[in-house]
């Protein structure tokens, strides 16, 4: 049998056997038999050295051709066996609808999430996030914010006082009723221009019910510089509302009173539920009050030694719990601090 005939025989035999193969093991044996080091094809190729140059050319070309051909059919067979594997061996198939092995996943508290998100927005507008003490002197919490003793404005913020008496027999220590004392603390240290936001806990003397708790969270903002106007206050808070509540959410300002600002304003956004049409959530007004703000009162600026005829500024303060309550329709503020994982794991 000539070498070329031998090659032809190998090819016929290989293709014929390959056809019958139905699993990977047999295929592997086939590969060894026809394409391995000790295969007949390799033997033929090794024998080439003994041939004349003329024969080498034709036989070599045919043998290489066969090698390529076998590689191609092998690959094809491998692929088709891959498909057959599942349909043929159903009992080994995976049910991809079984749950995955999840790495454990915790949940950030919804209040932390809101603080993070709001700080991010204000930081991107050039504000710096700072924090301050929760136990405060009435000097920072009231006096320096233009809320004198025996003034009804103090009654609006029912205060929890600390059992502490100084040498003068005064009892000036309290749990801060708002984050605003940080306005004074920061302005005492840093000269304008300044822009800060202050997230933190505040406390009020409140009986606990679905809408009142003695501890809650606020975020405060303050910007002081030459030439800051009420128009800047509006612009900054509009921008915040657009970014936080979405660009189609309308916001409006109206006059309100806080002793440490003048003029004072309150910002409302279009009701999240009814989009302004009027519903139970917004008491049919179409608007939801979300923050109080205003131009820093000249007395507050002068109190920390900032010349109020040269500098001006705005401040704002917002209750944090109200925001997720409105967003998610939560009707009981106590849920935030009750630690019930069935609630907290939803956020």
């Amino acid at each position: 049998m000539s070498i070329l005939e031998q090659l032809e025989e190998i090819k016929t035999q290989a293709l014929c056997e390959l056809d019958a193969i139905d699993d990977n093991k047999k295929l592997d044996l086939w590969r060894v038999q026809y394409m391995g080091k000790k295969s007949r094809l390799n033997e033929v190729l090794r024998g080439l050295a003994a041939l004349s140059i003329e024969e080498k050319k034709t036989v070599g070309a045919t043998a290489n051709q066969l090698k390529l051909e076998l590689e191609a059919v092998l690959k094809e067979k491998e692929l088709s066996l891959g498909d057959m594997f599942i349909s043929a061996k159903g009992e080994d198939a995976i049910d991809i609808s079984l749950p995955g092995r999840k790495p454990p996943l915790g949940h950030l508290h919804p209040i932390s999430q809101v603080i993070d998100e709001m700080c991010r927005i204000f930081v991107s507008m050039g504000f710096q996030a700072v924090e301050g003490p929760e136990v405060e002197w009435d000097y920072y919490n009231f006096d320096m914010l233009n809320i004198p003793k025996e003034h009804p404005a103090r009654d609006n913020m029912q205060t929890l006082w600390v059992d502490y008496e100084n040498e003068k027999g005064e009892r000036p220590m309290l749990l801060r009723t708002h984050t605003s004392p940080m306005q004074v603390r920061v302005m005492e240290k840093i000269k304008p221009p300044l822009r800060i936001v202050v997230p933190g806990k505040v406390y009020r003397y409140e009986a606990i019910d679905a809408t009142h708790i003695p501890m809650f969270t606020q975020i405060e903002g303050l910007a002081v510089d030459k030439g800051i106007t009420l128009a800047d206050l509006k612009g900054t808070l509009y921008e915040f509302a657009r970014r936080y509540f979405g660009s189609d959410r309308k916001a409006r300002f109206r006059c309100d009173f806080f002793p440490f600002v003048e003029p004072g304003v309150e910002m409302s956004i279009e009701c999240i539920v009814c989009k302004g049409a009027g519903c139970r959530l917004c008491s049919n007004s179409g608007w939801l009050e979300i923050l109080g703000a205003g131009m820093v009162h000249p007395r507050v600026l002068e109190g920390v030694g900032i010349d109020s005829t040269v500098y001006s500024g705005f401040a704002f303060g917002m209750g944090i719990e109200r925001i997720p309550m409105l967003r998610y329709g939560i009707d009981d503020i106590r849920l935030f601090y009750g630690g019930d994982l069935r609630f907290l794991r939803q956020f």
Binding site: Q128, E150, P193, R195, F257, P263, S312, Y337
Partner: protein, 798 residues
Amino acid sequence: MKVPVKWLKDYIDIDLSPKELAHVLTMSGTESEIKYLGESWDGVIIGQITAIDPHPNADRLRLATVNTGSGMQTVVCGAPNLTIGDKIAFASVGAHLIDGHTGEKSILKPAKIRGVESCGMVCSEMELGMSKDHEGILVLASDAPLGKPLAEFLSDIVLDIDVTPNRPDLLSVIGVAWEVAAITGKKVKVPDLSYSESGDAIEKQVSIVIEDADLCPRYSASLITGVKIGESPEWLKQRLMACGVRPINNIVDVTNYVMFEYGQPLHSFDYDKIKTNKIVVRRAKNGEMMQTLDDIERKLDGNTLMITDGEKSVAIAGVMGGANSDITDNTISILLESANFNAAGIHYTSHNLKLVSEASMRFERGIRPDLTVHALKRATRLILQLAGGCAAKGIVDVYPQKQERKSLNLRSSEIKRILGVGFSNEQVAGTLTSLGFEVDIYPNDEYMVTAPYWRSDINIEVDLIEELARIIGYENIPTTLLSGSIAHQEPNYLMDLKSMVRHTLVGFGFDEIITYSLTNREMLAKAYASNTLHKEPVKLDNAMSAEQEYLRTNLRSGLLSVLQSNLRHEEGPIRIFELNRIYIKRENDLPEEPEIVCGLMYNPEQEKSWPLHTQPFDFFSVKGVVESLLSSLNVDADFRQSDDESLLPGFQAEVLVKGNKIGVIGEVHPKVANAFDISEKVYMFELNINSLLTYSLQQTGYQAITRFPSVIRDIALVLDSGVTHKQVTDIINRFSLVNEITLFDVYSGKQVEAGKKSLAYRLIFQSAEHTLTDKEVDKVLQQILKKLEGALGATLRA
């Protein structure tokens, strides 16, 4: 403040609908809501009481037979003022009412009261939502049409105004009229104050002395003799009721009416009971007692201002009158007081005595002394009209230090500097004038402005700017973004660190908890096996309850309670943490408020369900969390045996960084767990974030990746069981060719000698300079084993 719209229209023409009116007032700073009195009175009609019988089973209840116009109904009623013949408000079953006890809205249901069927109810003012009065039933005028809906007879539209503390002038109907005037451009019509004075000169009959002028800047009074006390006319009674006040008699009603009209509280004395014909205004003597109108004997202190007749006290100034000078049906002469009292003084007294009245509420906000005479004249005129009598000639008006109305300079430049927009002369002058201000326009766009006599809140230039902004409208102020430079800002490393720790723990499967900072001593002590507190917590002066009287000194108690309560509805595993402050008392200073992160891990044995892979749960589970957390913050920590009282001895360690303690980890002491009803093992970690901040560093460099292959050798060492893993690795780590040591087995048992244990390590050798040969590695390994043997008595396990 409730402002009946009909009453408001006495002073100003209003074209707006009530809803629009409420809206424009709200936008300009006077938060208003519309209340239709009678809006919810479906099912309430006018009835008449025809018979009253005793209740067979109850002494305090009676059975009233009510003629409803279409039949007779019997109702059970406990009111003391049931009178045969009175017209009353009758609610039939299904009517919407306010519950007299809870103040909640309710729907009237058929009821059997002490065995007697009651087919409806005779209503109090409170039940109708008219006032807080639930003492007796509402008695209607005798001409009320029987059987007709109550709403047709009594209803009114009321603006319910939430007045801010700076605007006492808005606690008056005329004050609100001025606001409406400014917004709508209409003119205010002021009431007539004139009356004829046919009596003797008042100076001959009354003298007034102010001893403490700091607490009483002004005292004005008039005298009316020969009055006839009686019921007020229906229009007056209805207006008072709409304001939430119960009519009493024509004199008291007029003083209340004028208080609502002008915002100036008035008080009427029975002149004949002022035996000295003299009023002396002075501070109370410490401990002085007095019986007020409500028949309560009150103890007063030296900061309380009293109205006296020179001998005895007749009223607590600005707060409440005395029982001894009260107007009665027999009163014939009235001394009418219209005074101004110091705001802080009244605030103090009202809070000290826990007595808040319509009068005290106005005085403590600081009303102008100019009001006294206007209100006095108005009230005198009305009393003459309604109760007859004759007024003495003139009034007494003691005003020791006249408070001049302030004139303020207002500059256009300042308006623009604060608001970011300028207004024309016409806008500025027009707006302020419509509010009652007097405005002079000066050259250079400056104005001289004098506030109206009833406004006490206008003190500086920016107060005028607010007036412009709120009346012209905030929507007419432009919107700009901050344009100034941003100052250099120091990064807030503490806040960044807290955020990183929170997010990393969430990534490790922990749920974040926030608990109240206010707690009690017992709860705080529960976190320790000894059940005692070693640090005295910060205590509140006026805690809401004993449950929330102290500021916490640990986060552990709160978290253990949260775990406890969650175990009532789930089995776990539970991983929770809180990152918040604790409060450490300091002498004569605010407490320290360190930031702490505390976490709990709870993972009971449970049925294995797919695809649960069983990882052991023990001390090393919590240690691993802390190790990974610290490693993510580039902190190198050591662990050392510790003696924390919350944790089980022997199963706890303190976390050290550079020799300093920053926290603890370990198994919660079973005694502590039991105190929280937890029977399974709980592991806890606690780190001080402020300490961590000192050591958590920014990454400074990196280690080059070597291109030379590594060589692996596994060794199993037999050691005395007292030798620690750390002792072994400390020695091995001294050999620089060892790149990594991994512990892969810990064994003690039959296959090693008693008192010994086996630790198995995989060592990875690698050089940054060359490919290591087996020979080289074996040589180093022999050195390592020799060192281990010499130092720790380690042998290779056979």
